[in-house]
Symmetry: C2
Subunit: 348 residues, 2 copies
Amino acid sequence: MPELRKDPIVGRWVIISTERGKRPTSFSAVSKRVAARMCPFCPGQEENTPPEIFAHRRPDSEPNRPGWNLRVIPNKFPALIVEGKLNREPQGIYDKMDGVGAHEVIIETADHAVDLVDMTDEGARDVFWAYRERMMDLERDSRLKYILIFKNHGEAAGASLEHSHSQLIATPIVPKRVSEEIDGARRYFEFKERCIFCDIVRQELQDQVRVVKDYDAFVAIEPFAPRFPFETWIIPKMHQSSYLELSDAEHLTLARAFKDTLARIKIALNDPPFNYILHTRPVSREHQEYFHWHFEIIPKLTKVAGFERGSGFYINPTAPEEAAAYLRSIDTADLARFRQSEPAESEK
Amino acid sequence: MPELRKDPIVGRWVIISTERGKRPTSFSAVSKRVAARMCPFCPGQEENTPPEIFAHRRPDSEPNRPGWNLRVIPNKFPALIVEGKLNREPQGIYDKMDGVGAHEVIIETADHAVDLVDMTDEGARDVFWAYRERMMDLERDSRLKYILIFKNHGEAAGASLEHSHSQLIATPIVPKRVSEEIDGARRYFEFKERCIFCDIVRQELQDQVRVVKDYDAFVAIEPFAPRFPFETWIIPKMHQSSYLELSDAEHLTLARAFKDTLARIKIALNDPPFNYILHTRPVSREHQEYFHWHFEIIPKLTKVAGFERGSGFYINPTAPEEAAAYLRSIDTADLARFRQSEPAESEK
């Protein structure tokens, strides 16, 4: 069983997950690329994945058989597992608990050759809708405090399979970076009685120097103090603390905004590896007034070296104003290559 | 001039250092390997580095000419620069200050083919002594709050030149990871009136499951909740809050302990890329009772993916107990290959 351990000094929890099979001697192995015909995420390979939890499939198709457009499955090598109690216990001066949680994979499309950025608007919307479905289901499990949605694209960003997918990890603690955002936003709210994210959106829309693109309900910005070059946030303009407050119709708007932003990054940086992650409020109904959900998209362009790993202090070689200007300047003709609207969807 | 910017939500400072020359279009360039004869850190290439700040050289040699064993120079592409005032100022709701600080390179040896682990004990001691010299000098600059010593070994760990070197970055703020350790250690001290690092050393020496090696004045341990596989700490057993409290004689003991630990890691993991970083107390004389200096050695064995980058929550596939057992089991005959004592030094 995976174990959650707390750093006794800084209080950071770490998942010790030896089930994932890295023995001390196995680190020299390079991660394997899988040919498309061997890909466990492709139709026809359903028996090579754990049984599906959720899917969009043709009415005449059977679970765990072909006929789907999107599938959610448990991760075959989970960092945390669903079974069991938390069993919080001390070990001398240390604290640990059992690694209870959920680790799922959202297979975003049946087509091995298509990334999120290449999907139809409706196909991409279904991905964002699947995030919602899984979050709503898992929020009923009282052991879980946080549900984290993220994507690794490209080997250098940690993807071990190239077939387009996202992941979900539900944890019995609130992750550190989210806690820090909540604490900072709470302090700001106590001082100003305003949401700091709303104030950021307001200032960015006024300054127009770090805005990548204004998508009406959402805006894509480069944050003022980004850790990484071309770090980009997609954030709703209206105050919403949880991703689950997104209306049905807004899922399509978000999908379009997301695809446009990803297309700009893909063109500007020659299809870079990237991660994105959803920051939403914890499962508990707290923090509604001052937390504000958003996606953080982080291209993997630089190596994180000793300075950053050891200090938590980041050196970013690209000013966000310069990155935003560059992403704004992408040619609309180049972007048009990516756009696919509903008719293309119906041909599937 | 580089700029320090504060993340308005979590309060983390970031260095925006566009002087380092990464334009938006330059990220596809791979870092270049330099042949030994072209290495700017080799003897005879002194005119290709900024003028030296400190050196160990033969009495008959001249500054910035061959005849040295160790040289400290300003970084040619500094993340922070020495000239100027801090100029703290707001920018709307945001905060920034000028990127004032120091960024130096410690060229550890004249021999391009030798890493720290291969040096004589005395050669390695001189490296640790140089850290002390530079820290003592820079502590006199009242603009500087923290002096960070670190090393990147291997390209994947961020080293752009292979000639053995460490770096020093002095900053006008205390880095986040160090602040968090200080805050955690202070809370523990308020509760227990004991140093948490001393308590950790005590428990580890008693349990003997995460101890790599006991070096009398120092001990190498795998921490209880490490972020990364084979993360290893070297920590003094006696309470010392600052690296500058190390006695003259202890520098040689530390060098021997360090070389032995690095040799174990090199053998166990086939010369992995790694970083190490010194955590010592800030320049201010505070925190003496509860902060406790140590080195953190972090091999670069896994990719940091979306989950970690976005959540600050780490998945570690190797239990520290297993890593410690593996590092303890390294054959003494293999370790003996690395040992070089004083006679070898005098032959130089």
